[in-house]
């Protein structure tokens, strides 16, 4: 699936805090068109910082001290906490219209049309068109769909997902992941998916990078890593996935 020319190349990226503490050290990976890459690791391992560096959204006090990020296409991000990512004082439709207006440079009227189309595509109810809704009036899953719509309104070549389902229930989580997978088939964007849930990463991504304390300790094809982990840290992560007994008559809709 990987094309010869990668659309995102990160080479020896290093990030440090003002106090000279290394937060991300020598991280390199590349991403081909339409490919999905999973970044896994525990909190504080630098997953989210790496993602923010790609977007150029480093938090205050963190600086890039080395390495290069080369990308030919635009990227957009889906954040972990959907409520925090939305403006609580602006209706969700208007937030989306605004992004479409500025990023796709179409008229106000046309941007409203595009925005409503996007909302429909993400499976949000029709009532949003008729009645003004604020983020606080939507459920967590609906908010996350709006955030994904916001990211897609930028027509990104790369979708960066920062634990988009951690704050959600299992059933909603599954719907969101199905939505993301379907959209990826339709729009063929590449994806970097940050998560600490190995099972989700295994289902979504063809390649994995395992991060620990700011460094990539292992990377390669997902199945290879999960079946023959070479690093003890990867093994530890795999062991901490809690097993469930096999469900009788399971329809097994996870691939």
């Amino acid at each position: 699936m990987m094309s010869i020319q990668p659309i995102l190349e990160i080479d020896a990226l290093s990030l440090a805090a003002k106090s000279n503490e290394r937060l991300v050290n020598n991280v390199s990976f590349s991403l081909g068109k339409g490919e999905s890459l999973g970044l896994v690791g525990e909190s504080g391992s630098g997953k989210s910082l790496t993602l923010r560096a790609i977007l150029g959204l480093l938090p205050n006090g963190v600086e890039q001290i080395g390495g290069t990020i080369k990308s030919d296409v635009s990227s957009a991000m889906v954040f972990q906490d959907p409520r925090g990512a939305l403006d609580p004082l602006c209706t969700v439709v208007n937030q989306l219209v605004e992004v479409v207006y500025y990023r796709q440079r179409v008229s106000r009227k046309a941007s409203r049309m595009i925005a409503l189309e996007l909302l429909e595509r993400l499976g949000l109810p029709d009532s949003l068109k008729k009645k003004d809704r604020y983020p606080s009036q939507l459920s967590g899953g609906q908010c996350q769909r709006v955030v994904i719509a916001l990211a897609l309104a930028c027509k990104p070549g790369i979708l960066l997902c920062d634990e988009p389902t951690t704050a959600l229930d299992v059933t909603v989580q599954r719907q969101i992941i199905e939505t993301i997978t379907n959209l990826q088939h339709e729009l063929s964007f590449a994806m970097v998916f940050v998560t600490h849930n190995l099972a989700i990463a295994a289902n979504l991504c063809s390649r994995l990078c395992v991060m620990k304390q700011g460094q990539i300790v292992e990377h390669g094809a997902t199945l290879d890593i999960l079946q023959n982990p070479s690093d003890p840290y990867t093994q530890m992560l795999i062991d901490s996935v809690l097993p469930l007994p096999e469900l009788e008559g399971s329809r097994d809709s996870w691939n």
Partner: protein, 257 residues
């Protein structure tokens, strides 16, 4: 088997919203009941009603043979203890660990003033923390350690029933495993009866003996663990179970017993 707690016809309204709708639930002595359900299904409300933090509108709760009223005696309060989801919010940031642990000990007169120090150290030992921790403050600990302190505080008054409201959802996967192992050992050592709330079915599988499923304020199923995970009775339980993302089949399975 003896029942530690019986809940009969419990109903709670928040304004016009019915959070709990006629809940019937029995908790057997020395077993762990796992309570699952999506957000907003009333799991936490149920836990708070049992702990006495919310007064129910209808129904009653029986602790052994005595009924728990709105006003509870000190003894009744002592018997039921609760661990909250977020240790950052449930530990007072201005109190040292010594103060946090000794306050309930003195209030419930578990030990005299002279024995407090010794008991605090024992408690820390029980949750695998160093004794040095006594003079530190909550912010000096990691999330997993803070949750251990919250567990030590709940156990300090020697409760019979422990309610854990999503105690591991704020934690990392690797830390989660060690906290769950701690729960399992403590449960066996202290003969606890536990009500364990989580929306993570893997966690429920690792810790409970029976599983109860809630949805929109109603209890839809209560089954033994083995039966629930293999042959759930209710359509909704099936939906929940099949929504859990699975690891690829041939990979090595998890290390939790």
């Amino acid at each position: 088997m003896e029942l530690a707690l019986q809940i009969k016809d419990l109903t709670v309204h928040y304004g016009g919203f019915t959070a709990l709708d006629c809940i019937h639930l029995n908790l057997e002595q020395h077993t762990t009941l796992g309570l699952v359900g999506e957000s907003g299904s009333g799991k936490s409300t149920l836990a708070r009603v049992i702990a006495g933090l919310i007064a129910p509108h209808e129904g009653k709760i029986l602790l052994g043979t005595q009924e728990l009223k709105k006003k509870r005696s000190r003894e009744q309060r002592k018997i039921i203890q609760m661990i909250f989801q977020n240790p950052d919010a449930s530990l007072n940031p201005k109190h040292s660990i010594r103060q946090i642990l000794s306050e309930p000990l003195l209030f419930h007169k578990i030990v005299g003033r002279t024995g407090v120090e010794q008991r605090c150290k024992e408690l820390l030992n029980q949750v695998h923390l160093e004794q040095k921790a006594l003079d530190k403050f909550p912010h000096e600990f990691s999330g997993g350690q803070r949750q251990r302190i919250a567990i030590a505080r709940a156990l300090s008054v020697e409760p019979n029933i422990l309610i854990a409201d999503e105690p591991t959802s704020a934690l990392d996967v690797s830390v989660q495993l060690s906290v769950l192992e701690l729960f399992n050992t403590l449960k066996a050592e202290l003969n606890l009866t536990m009500l364990f709330i989580s929306h993570d079915l893997g966690v429920i599988n690792a810790i409970s003996d029976t599983v109860a499923v809630m949805r929109q304020g109603k209890l839809v199923e209560q089954s033994p663990k083995d039966q629930f995970f293999i042959r759930p009775k209710h359509e909704y339980s099936y939906e929940l179970l099949s929504a859990v993302p699975k690891m690829p089949k041939s990979s090595t399975s998890g290390g939790f017993l």
